[in-house]
Symmetry: C2
Subunit: 147 residues, 2 copies
Amino acid sequence: MPHSPDPSLDLAATDLRLATFRLARRLRHERALDSMSDAQFAVLVILRQHGTQTLGALAERERVTAPSMNRTVNVLEETGYLVRTPDEQDRRRVLIEITESGAEIVAETIRLRDHALAEALAELHLSEEELEILRQASALMRRVAER
Amino acid sequence: MPHSPDPSLDLAATDLRLATFRLARRLRHERALDSMSDAQFAVLVILRQHGTQTLGALAERERVTAPSMNRTVNVLEETGYLVRTPDEQDRRRVLIEITESGAEIVAETIRLRDHALAEALAELHLSEEELEILRQASALMRRVAER
DNA sequence: TATTGTTATACTCTATAACTATA
DNA sequence: TATAGTTATAGAGTATAACAATA
């Protein structure tokens, strides 16, 4: 097992890994509709953020196979959270678009999660300095994740 | 939808939520054995960290039903990562204990994840001040998650 | 022929309901 | 009677293989 040259960096990594998993697990519990699975919700988030997608693009983004994504999309189509329309330019393709009610479910879940986290932060009575640490850390974490 | 009195706290919460989910998703990809599911791995982590548990205790910690946990435990027992032994004090109960090979799998996964994160941090060439921000933020995040 | 989406089939994780053994 | 664990059965997400339609 290789080690980085800076042992304090190893310690920071371990701390951050543990804290990230625990907080993510805690926040994931907050969802507008408990009846919707993580897989379904993730698809709606992609459609809301990145707009209309083909089935293949969705499968690639979520790193699942096309048949798997097809089943997930089927459920979301039946519940009315997205619609399929044929691509007229390339008729092998199907364009998948989020509906108004789908976008509302995503927005509501985000509101719930933000609210739960804001409540938790408020309860800890963090100082302005501590809040600033969290903001700066958030930016660093995103750089790590998106590297 | 209620709002906290401090709008800068709301913003910190949103930033932190996004960053946490993205980093967790990224780190979860690193696993010693891809053949083991998240559910199975989570059970081994509990057993390693908190010692021998009953089936009911495992189900409660993972917030799944007893039959669900029973199936997960069955698989881990078949693969030799844990053992069941009857509780002699209360013979309705079964004590579930991690084996040496189970503990080794957990340790290996933790090593992989720490290494991946340490590599990512090293690549960003963070300053000592930035690493300190991540360490302090990690402590705050754990307080939030465990509140 | 290659690509895109879909269907067929099977395996895993989840749940609820029913059952067994023990307290 | 109540509790701990298990089994029976079913629903949803995953996969691979095979198929249909289109480029």
